[in-house]
């Protein structure tokens, strides 16, 4: 079957009524998650996994996986839309990839053009969503066709590359990021070894035999950790919420932002493809590029519509681009896609080159649902933007305890154990303390998810080579991956030594 046929099949899946409901709730919850400052896309997706698992329990395994992933992916790109709302109206980004939007968005709001800024960011996000989807459709299958030829040695090196790339760009200190990655990989070894069946680091505690569940760690680190931070640091929004007068942008606004949207989308898409980069870097780059090529760079920071259009398109395009390595290689490139990958694994679906062969309904259903979801987001965001702005006013008093209850409920509904509940509280404290001191959390969760796959591939490769580690250097593709990985962490180091400022990704 050709790509177009597959896509039409996927559209058929996405248009089933229950999947339409799932997309709708996904993007709706995603927008709310993006708007609420205390909760980002990572904790949003992690908290919803158990709930979707129960909601889909009546369906067949493959259908259940399709519907859940459709909803969770909707939360992911929906949050990119929602994040801009608070940036523009309140000068506080709802999630970290909308930081740049505050620069010009809030200025526009102050000049009474809040409606235009919100509309342009919704339109830009929509255009970017579509552009990145087209890229996804044409790149995902060829890429998985290449990846299917990889042996265990190549796969191991590819994962090393992925982890190094994320550690190289995560947070302020690369040493800390590497430490967190190693810790995540080590935590993944706890439990019964899947190859030989021996128990490792369990100390005879029965709860540890099945290993640490990634969901528990992710909910604890991100959702509960974030809540603890809010409680301890008392951040509230004192800012005045700007008034929205007119929603539709003027013709001049549209004309000014058409080119920035196109540039931001394409740039964002390619940055999203890179492991470790992701939406935050994409929006920063897009803003810098736009400022560089503008004829009036002095307008930036004073309410230039280009400064809203381009980064908002870029962060949405990056979230689409980030789906490509996840679906076709099985390697997540950011914290949120790592959690999405955890959801795939929970449904016993292995993302990677075989996904398009083994589960075409799922893969193309999810891709097609992103078309539908982006359309829904545009419709939701244009007329309802005033309503979403109201969500910001949800008092923290009620929000904070409710997030803890949701975390407890979500983890208990999947794990049925008090041990896991205590673990999320512990992870919450550890997560807060670590992230407060610039230890990035995303690499830890990524290591936890990639750990078992990485170890199995390493041991398979070593079994083939009879224990000779040179196999990773003798296979040319594997060698190339390792060299790129090494460059990825050494180049920023060299740049830093030369005194250049290096942009980092501060997700989570």
């Amino acid at each position: 079957m050709s790509t177009v046929e597959y896509l039409l099949h996927g559209l058929g899946t996405a248009m089933q009524w229950h999947n339409l409901v799932f997309v709708f709730f996904g993007v709706l919850i995603g927008t709310v998650v993006g708007v609420l400052p205390g909760i980002g896309p990572m904790s949003g997706v992690a908290l919803l996994i158990p709930i979707t698992a129960t909601m889909t329990s009546g369906l067949s395994p493959e259908e259940a996986a399709t519907s859940s992933i459709i909803l969770l992916a909707g939360v992911y790109y929906g949050a990119m839309y929602g994040g801009s709302t608070t940036s523009i109206l309140l000068n506080t980004p709802g999630e970290s990839s909308s930081v740049v939007t505050t620069l010009d968005g809030y200025q526009m709001a102050k000049q009474g053009r809040a409606g235009a800024a919100l509309a342009i960011s919704a339109i830009g996000s929509f255009a970017a969503g579509i552009i990145s989807l087209v890229g996804l459709i044409f790149l995902a299958r060829p890429l998985s066709a290449v990846a299917i030829k990889f042996g265990p040695a190549e796969y191991f090196s590819l994962m090393v590359l992925g982890l190094l790339a994320i550690s190289g760009l995560a947070g302020k200190s690369m040493v800390k990021a590497l430490m967190m990655t190693a810790l995540g990989l080590l935590l993944a070894t706890i439990g019964i070894d899947s190859v030989s069946g021996v128990e490792r680091f369990t100390f005879g505690i029965p709860e540890l035999y099945q290993g640490l569940e990634f969901l528990t760690i992710a909910v604890g680190m991100f959702a509960v950790g974030e809540v603890f931070k809010t409680i301890l640091e008392r951040d509230h929004n004192d800012g005045e919420i700007a008034k929205i007068s007119r929603i539709l942008p003027t013709k001049q606004d549209m004309k000014d932002s058409a080119a920035p949207i196109a540039r931001g989308s394409i740039l964002g898409f390619f940055i999203g493809l890179l492991p470790g980069a992701g939406a935050i870097l994409a929006s920063f780059f897009a803003y810098i590029v736009e400022k560089k090529i503008s004829k009036h760079p002095e307008k930036f920071g004073k309410g230039a519509i280009e400064g809203v259009a381009s980064p908002e398109s870029a962060n949405n395009a990056a979230s689409g681009g980030a789906m490509i390595p996840l679906l076709s290689l099985g390697i997540p490139s950011s914290g949120t896609t790592a959690i999405l990958m955890g959801a795939f694994i929970m449904y016993n679906v292995q993302p990677g080159p075989l996904l398009f062969q083994d589960h075409p309904q799922l893969a193309w259903g999810v891709i097609a649902s992103m078309f539908v979801g982006n359309l829904m987001l545009l419709i939701l965001n244009m007329p309802l933007v005033k309503l979403f702005a109201k969500v910001i006013e949800t008092p923290a008093k009620y929000l904070i305890p409710l997030i803890i209850v949701f975390s407890v409920f979500g983890v208990y509904a999947v794990q049925y154990s008090t041990f896991d509940l205590l673990l999320i509280m512990g992870c919450g404290v550890v997560g807060y303390v670590l992230s407060k001191n610039d230890f990035p959390l995303a690499p830890l969760v990524l290591g936890l998810i990639l750990g078992p796959m990485m170890e199995n591939n390493m041991r398979r490769a070593l079994t083939i080579s009879n224990g000779d580690f040179m196999i990773f250097l003798q296979k040319p593709v594997s060698l190339v991956f390792l060299i790129i990985g090494l460059l990825w962490i050494t180049i920023p180091l060299i740049l830093k030594l030369k005194g250049r400022r290096v942009l980092v990704n501060e997700e989570g």
């Binding site: 040493v175 810790l183 080590l186 190859v195 301890l232 008093k397 509940l421």
Partner: protein, 153 residues
Amino acid sequence: MNHSFDRYAGIVFCAIGIAFVIGSTSISTSAYGSNVGANIFPLFLGAFLSLMSIRLIYETFRRQQKQQNRERLDYKRFGIIFTAAVLYALFLEDIGFVISTFLFLMIGFQTMQRGRIWISVVISACFSYGVYYLYVNVLDGTLPGFPSWLVLF
């Protein structure tokens, strides 16, 4: 950047790394005809983690400590909510989802901001029973119900 924290964190991480290295020496070194056992992966990573931690500790000595003004943290509020959350986790199975959630939410709402008790009661009650009803009766999930000694329901 807080250097003394980094130093202690480095020591703790280093200890974790060494613990994994030592732990992995007692794991079988071979599996079914392959000379690659379950010990290699944790052995290498444990060593890597310790090395990186030593590097971090070294960095904290090399750089000079910048004075920073400490922000005041709300330990009292955190202490109450954290204790309540741990108790909530511990007793969820014993007293059931509805009662424990209701109690936790009441404590949480009132600790965040005192006052307007009736609104808190209504929200906590609706939420705890609403979620339970939706999940157990509509979605057919399982949550700990009401305790058996309570014969109200």
